[in-house]
Symmetry: C2
Subunit: 354 residues, 2 copies
């Protein structure tokens, strides 16, 4: 056997160090005064003294990936939006319980570390963190030849947020008659990409689709929308309302993998299900294109995709108007809670029957 060193085995420690240099300033741009130590330390240090001014702090944490959307990003050579995807997905996941982001950590692994690619992804992560005042407290980049397919990468992230215990969502007293308000998604977000890639396998990513008014790459790589900036004011306001039943936001559901059918029930108490009225919101052209080209069963579409609704608010009927006014455009009344356990998809207009 010939003389070995680490670089010859496919791992380049210097490339890793260069990647760290490239992303340092982006990472530091997310630091508030709470960050006592970040990049370069074994662990990131976050000052938690502010939690001592809370009534009863609860930490909320979530880890997620962005699925095979990373494969499309690698193919298209567009990496920055993936950074937004992973952060926004995580922000939304803890938002549904009512939490405010504190800090985020990322994991980036690939077959061969290209410092410029890492810097793009982490640059996107830092941008998205800044938008929600969240510190990018740490991360790990790993070069793993043989585990990842050539030129592929994966990215995962973990967010930690905080909230008052008494403000935890969903409220346990959701009831039939409560209304579902849907918020517009920016695309498939980070779910259903294995199916999407199969359906568009023979279509170059730079193909322009008139129905989408964009190239396929632009439509498919649109970053996951974050709902924290939109909903935080409502959540803050309702913190001053004594009777929880009067809170405008009784529950939130983030429509990720499993779509409507599996995510809505996660926030309902036993004996409560939902009716979702198909056609009560505009179905984005991309989902129509996916369904047609793939000949995907309509119910399957609602189990895999968000179908144009990225986040669902549950509110009492008397609060629907106020909530929709507070949020502005791109909200729709898409259904209500009913007795039962399941989510039923109810056709509202003939062209959406399923």
């Amino acid at each position: 056997m010939t003389k070995s060193d680490y670089a010859a085995s496919g791992v380049d420690i210097d490339a890793g160090n260069r990647a760290v240099e490239l992303m340092k300033s982006a990472v530091k741009s997310t630091y508030g005064p709470e960050v006592l130590a970040g990049i370069g330390a074994f662990g990131g240090l976050f000052d938690a003294a502010a939690l001592q001014n809370m009534r009863h702090p609860v930490l909320v944490a979530s880890t997620d990936g962005v699925g095979t959307k990373v494969k499309l990003a690698a193919q298209a050579g567009r990496y920055r939006s993936i950074g937004h995807d992973i952060v926004n997905h995580c922000v939304n996941d803890i938002l549904v319980q009512g939490a405010r982001p504190l800090f985020f950590l990322d994991y980036f692994a690939t077959s061969r570390l290209l410092p410029e690619v890492v810097a793009e992804v982490v640059g996107g992560i830092a941008e998205a963190c800044r938008q929600v005042h969240c510190a990018l407290l740490g991360g790990e980049t790993a070069e793993m030849p043989g585990v990842y397919a050539p030129a592929e990468f994966d990215v995962a992230g973990t967010i930690v947020g905080v909230m008052e215990r008494e403000r935890i969502l969903p409220r346990p007293d959701l009831r039939p008659g409560d209304v579902l308000i849907g918020l517009r998604s920016s695309g498939p977000h980070t779910n259903g990409y294995s199916l999407i890639r199969k359906i568009f396998a023979d279509v170059p990513l730079d193909t322009f689709f008139p129905a989408l008014d964009s190239t396929l790459a632009e439509a498919l790589l649109a970053p996951h929308r974050q709902y924290y900036s939109l909903l935080a004011p409502l959540l803050n306001d309702q913190a001053g309302v004594d009777n929880p039943r009067q809170w405008p936001i009784q529950a939130l559901a983030h429509l990720t993998g499993g779509g409507f059918l599996e995510n809505l029930p996660r926030v309902f108490p036993p004996g409560v299900g939902a009716e979702v009225r198909l056609g009560s919101w505009p179905l984005p052209p991309l989902f129509q294109l996916i369904q047609q080209r793939g000949e995907v069963d309509a119910v399957e579409m609602y189990r895999v995709f968000n179908m144009g609704i990225g986040m669902v608010i549950v509110t009492a009927p008397e609060n629907v108007k106020a909530v929709r006014q507070a949020l502005g455009e791109d909200t729709w009344e898409i259904g209500q809670l009913v007795a039962g356990e399941n989510v039923r998809l109810v056709p509202e207009r003939n062209d959406y029957a399923c």
Copy 2:
């Protein structure tokens, strides 16, 4: 194009759900009363009221992977120890700053989700979490055909711990003359596996090596040792000592990727370096075997591997005896701090010259 559904595209939502069922009880076995919501929720909820009884709480967080050790585990069909690897790596990373683990989240991604494999990995994660009283608060399993090479998987994890601000390590007043005490590692831990795999590429994993007194698989897959259980009593004791310079543990360095040469300097103040005396501890046979078979340069060995020392304590000369007595066997005085910036490897005996 033929009719598509998600299973046909290589993603099996039901397999994912079955994996969740299999690991539920393992995950729940890690819950203490602080866990208000875990598996099944969008985010895990951890009661942080106890932080309000602290003087000045600091949260410490770290994300890590286990490198291409996962590839060996996949090859050998041994998955449980990888769970210990990822947790223990993270536990050690925040331990070096003095932190106690609160909760952990895992990320598991693979080309094809085999529920039994996920259950083994997560079972190992849960076991390792229980050993340090850390809640396995959340996680994500992802099936990503095309991103991961066939039959490969990756695992990453994030730990969050807590400590008093005034107890943060390393102490800023480390000085020349302070002593390095090395603690035994259990093997290469989670670093250097790309090189190891290259060197042993032509050796079946079940080959018995008399020098190792075990098969290659057993030696290479020995789980990363955690040092929290060993060091927590010392850290707790020194919390009662007013003068920080008298604390037995002035600093800790976890010897991960980059080995001695890159990890030790991470905890030193400017102008302080170290001399490490080669031969002052027994070099485990596995590292000798790696060096010989791979004809690896001696200095490169100390830049890639821990060489039998997984954690280094920095202590004042007058505390060396007490620290070593408190920790029992398998500790060695391996060097000291010196003026300068670098880590120098100093041969102590001829057979370790480099």
